[in-house]
């Protein structure tokens, strides 16, 4: 922990009451913020201040605060999870901000992510996509020995790269079309790269892509914003694989 400093910031935070379709940017001062704090700890400090002043604190989603649960996320100065590459909002530290800076904090915005309150949005659309086919149908019990099927280290690694997705929704928030292609492609890639996922590959990709479309996510037009903002640095090579799998599935449709 080298070089701790204190900074002051002006925050412009999106406030939206539950059930209301409109909100506005409110201005708050964040004073004496330690540069060792995480962004969410900075918001905690502001919320304590608001509470004691008799105002309602800013509602924001968060849970693990170690960058893995995917629950947190907001658009900071126009960028989902802020400017640091490969970083969730909870792992963004205040040492990346300058004293006196104005920071804009807004929720993820997309047709398929309805606002619930302030910075909290509804991302259940992601769950619905997984429910439509993002799994391998293997009931509990009866699995053969784990080493019975060999998986090349390369494929296991590629599958793991894709499986690292935390389902936070930053890819959708970053995309000008609010597309969920990176999210869907990560799951399709993870399962298709493994021999266990092959039998259902065609049905899976068809169902997931159709559900994605039905839920109001846009299409991919190769902007690459998703890859740039993904806190787990999921590659858009997965989108290419998704497209291949989708076309292939079309050929074998009965």
């Amino acid at each position: 922990m080298s070089g701790t400093n204190r900074i002051n910031l002006t925050l412009k935070v999106w406030r939206q009451k539950a059930g209301k379709s409109k909100g506005n940017l409110a201005e708050y001062q964040a004073k004496e913020i330690s540069t060792d704090m995480s962004f969410l700890e900075m918001l905690d400090v502001v919320n304590e201040y608001l509470t004691l002043k008799g105002e309602e604190p800013i509602a924001f989603d968060h849970d693990c605060r170690e960058g893995i649960c995917g629950m947190c996320g907001a658009v900071i100065n126009g960028r989902p999870h802020g400017q640091e590459k490969g970083t969730t909002l909870c792992q963004l530290h205040m040492r990346h901000f300058k004293d006196g800076e104005t920071v804009f904090i807004e929720p993820f915005k997309a047709k398929a992510f309805k606002n619930i309150k302030d910075l909290i949005v509804d991302r259940t659309a992601f769950d619905k996509i997984i429910q439509s086919g993002g799994f391998i149908s293997a009931n509990t019990g009866g699995a053969q020995d784990a080493n019975a099927i060999l998986i090349s280290q390369k494929n296991a690694d590629l599958a793991m790269d894709a499986a690292a997705c935390i389902g936070c929704g930053a890819c959708v928030a970053a995309c000008p079309n609010a597309s969920a292609m990176l999210f869907v492609s990560a799951k399709v890639s993870h399962l298709t790269l493994l021999p266990q996922g092959k039998p259902e590959a065609a049905a899976r990709v068809t169902a997931m892509v159709n559900t994605m479309d039905d839920l109001g996510f846009g299409n991919c037009s190769n902007e690459r914003e998703c890859e740039a903002e993904c806190p787990k640095e999921i590659s858009i090579a997965n989108i290419a694989r998704l497209n291949r799998e989708f076309i292939k599935a079309g050929f074998f449709k009965s």
Binding site: S2, T51, I68, Q91, D127, A138, T140
Partner: protein
């Protein structure tokens, strides 16, 4: 209350098979008539909900997060144990069983632990079938690494994100059942109470966290998979939302709380660095495979680590425990770190840290090899501290991590309330007084995939389906009490925030009921908690209203329960006049400062029974009987 553990008779290795055969079955047509409520979607809850739905039961599944994929099991890093012996290094079911019993300092049931070791192998098979991308060797076989408290390599892993991958496996199985309609998912719901009728669980009361509605849900059995209570300390490696409320409410309805003082302080966490801090971050125990723990030999040595020559470094774990070295169990590693710091040999600004050094491993194996194994952990460390662990040693200090205590359950994982089952970290059953690394994932999935699907049938076979619907008066009464509690918290309108109280509670417990305890301190802590609780109900400030998304109100309810539960922890610690595992009572230690058990007087699970508001709980003892292992002074030398 007399406790019956229902451990089957017969030889250890045949107990589970025998029991499975003796359990009654529910036929497929009848399974459809039963509704099972599962609270929590972590490894235990997610796997239980999915597996029960696959069997044909109707499942209602609840979680406090926005999606079942976010439960805190997701943050487990290092790995999951199994007795596969793929490494050909002498592992077996019996060895995993023995290591777990010994690691738990002989305070767990033989029968449960043996079953856990037996099932461990099925878990790996099941996870691979689901597509969990475990690490593999060049030939395509599964890779293993070692963890603390074991001399074999039995830990399966998916980089430093094993919990994430296992949870996503369970989540995908669960999602499949939600899609098929067999599981009805209720996200953003918090369980506020258990509904019982004649000591039988018949449903739960939850608060809808989006709009504040109090909802009533009936079920023929309730399965609690709500995790541990480490957040009672405020600062812990738990997620911010992790809490004791569901378990504590069940305790107040008649379930017993066992061994609440058994808390695990994990040795390798990023040290505390400010009073604004909201949580502590764990650095996986797997790092101790290659990292060497040390402190300067001299007190108050303020030199940079690279300026301290080899001869002036004390690799105290390697020195004191030559056979296990840096891989001693967590409780031992934590106490040793504390001892170094207490002697004034701690490093960093606060003096409350020791080094975890990868210099030698990088020299031996190359930076690339180390990066492949631990890349994401090193990156996380650098993000938080702005120090590069490839260049300079990590600074680590122990932090509250896991709770071995939990609701008392029998061999069927059923609590003292009929039809209330408790799985995973929320129960007390398998880890004794100290859990070994990579065993929490194993237990959560064992309970959910392979134990509850059998044992719940044994219970439901004797129950009439849908006997008490949610329209019954007991539900309305319970819901009314929940709303009154919520309204009370909002009405206080005092001058201090919820976090203010939570932090003060945490400091009391860390000081007096943390890594090291003594009678005087515990007595003091008990009074301090009672005072703090009184102050809370006079001076807490909870903004907003109940019929809204109100995160302050959510936290207030949890802290209110922590303020009662904290006292129960202290009561339990006071009762246990011995040292074992995570419970280190200063009056009971060997000459070398190791934990000294008292098997004659304390070889039992302390299960506490609620007797009424403001009254002392009653202690119920379940003696541990060891027929297959010899109780010894735990030694890792």
């Amino acid at each position: 209350m007399k406790l019956n553990s229902k451990i089957p008779s017969g030889p250890l290795s045949e107990k589970w098979d025998k029991h499975k055969f003796e359990l009654k079955l529910v036929n497929p047509a009848n399974k459809r008539k039963f509704t099972v409520i599962v609270v929590g979607t972590g490894l235990a809850g997610g796997s239980a909900a999915a597996s029960l739905a696959e069997l044909g039961y109707n499942v209602k599944n609840f979680c406090i997060q926005d999606s079942p994929r976010r439960a805190h099991s997701i943050a487990a890093q290092g790995g999951i144990n199994a007795a596969k012996n793929y490494a050909n290094d002498g592992d077996s079911i019996r060895r995993l069983f023995y290591d777990t019993i010994k690691g738990g300092d002989f305070r767990a049931r033989e029968g449960n632990v043996y079953r856990l070791a037996q099932i461990s192998n099925n878990i790996i098979d099941q996870c691979v079938a689901q597509g969990v991308p475990f690490a593999r060797d060049y030939g395509g076989l599964l890779a293993n690494r070692s963890f603390g408290g074991a001399q074999v390599s039995r830990t399966f892993y998916a980089r430093g994100q094993t919990g994430q991958q296992l949870l996503l496996g369970a989540y995908s199985a669960l999602s499949r059942q939600i899609g098929s309609g067999k599981v009805k998912m209720f996200a953003r719901r918090e369980m506020l109470d258990l509904v019982t009728e004649n000591n039988r669980a018949v449903g739960i009361i939850v608060r809808n966290l989006i709009n504040g509605d109090i909802e009533m849900h009936a079920g023929d059995a309730v399965v609690l998979c709500t995790g541990g209570y480490g957040n009672v300390f405020f600062l812990s490696t738990n997620a911010m939302g992790s809490n004791v409320t569901a378990a504590y409410r069940a305790y107040k309805k008649g379930a017993l709380f066992a061994n609440p003082c058994f808390t695990q302080i994990h040795p390798t966490c990023i040290p505390v660095h400010g009073d604004y801090q909201s949580k502590l971050t764990l650095m996986s125990e797997s790092l101790r495979n290659d990292g060497r723990v040390w402190a300067p030999k001299d007190r108050g040595d303020k030199r940079r680590p690279d300026q301290i020559p080899e001869a002036e470094r004390d690799y105290y774990l390697e020195r004191r425990y030559p056979s296990f070295g840096n891989l001693v169990p967590r409780d031992v590693a934590s106490r040793n770190a504390k001892a170094q710091c207490d002697k004034g040999k701690g490093v960093g600004e606060t003096g409350l840290a020791v080094y975890l050094d990868f210099r030698d491993a990088i020299k031996r194996d190359s930076k690339e090899v180390i990066e492949k194994k631990y890349g994401n952990l090193f990156a996380m460390y650098e993000k938080i501290t702005a120090d590069d662990p490839y260049q300079t040693p990590m600074m680590i200090y122990p932090a509250v991590h896991y709770t071995m205590g939990g609701l008392w359950v029998d061999y069927n994982l059923m609590s003292a309330i009929d039809g209330l089952f408790v799985l995973g970290e929320a129960n007390f059953s398998d880890h004794g007084a100290n859990r070994l690394g990579a065993s929490a994932l194993m237990q959560g999935l064992a309970d959910g995939y392979f134990v509850i699907p059998y044992t719940i049938g044994g219970y439901l076979a004797g129950v009439t389906p849908d006997k008490t619907p949610a329209s019954a008066q007991i539900f309305t009464d319970a819901a009314k009490k929940c709303s009154e509690r919520t309204k009370r918290l909002l009405s206080i309108q005092g001058k201090k925030t919820v976090d203010d109280f939570h932090k003060r509670l945490g400091l009391i417990l860390w000081e007096y009921c943390g890594m090291s305890r003594n009678e005087q301190g515990l007595i003091k802590a008990k009074d301090m908690i009672a005072e703090l609780r009184e102050e809370f109900y006079q001076n807490v400030l909870v903004p907003g209203i109940d019929k809204d998304l109100n995160q302050s109100l959510e936290r207030a309810g949890r802290v209110a329960d922590f303020l009662e539960f904290g006292e129960l922890m202290v009561t339990d610690a006071l009762n246990r006049k011995e040292s074992c595992g995570g419970h280190f009572n200063e009056a009971f230690q060997t000459e070398e400062g190791e934990a000294l058990r008292d098997d004659e007087n304390f070889c039992y699970a302390a299960a506490w029974e609620f007797t009424g508001e403001g009254k002392e709980p009653t202690l119920c003892k379940e003696p541990f009987e060891f027929e297959n292992v010899k109780l010894t002074q735990r030694s890792y030398k």
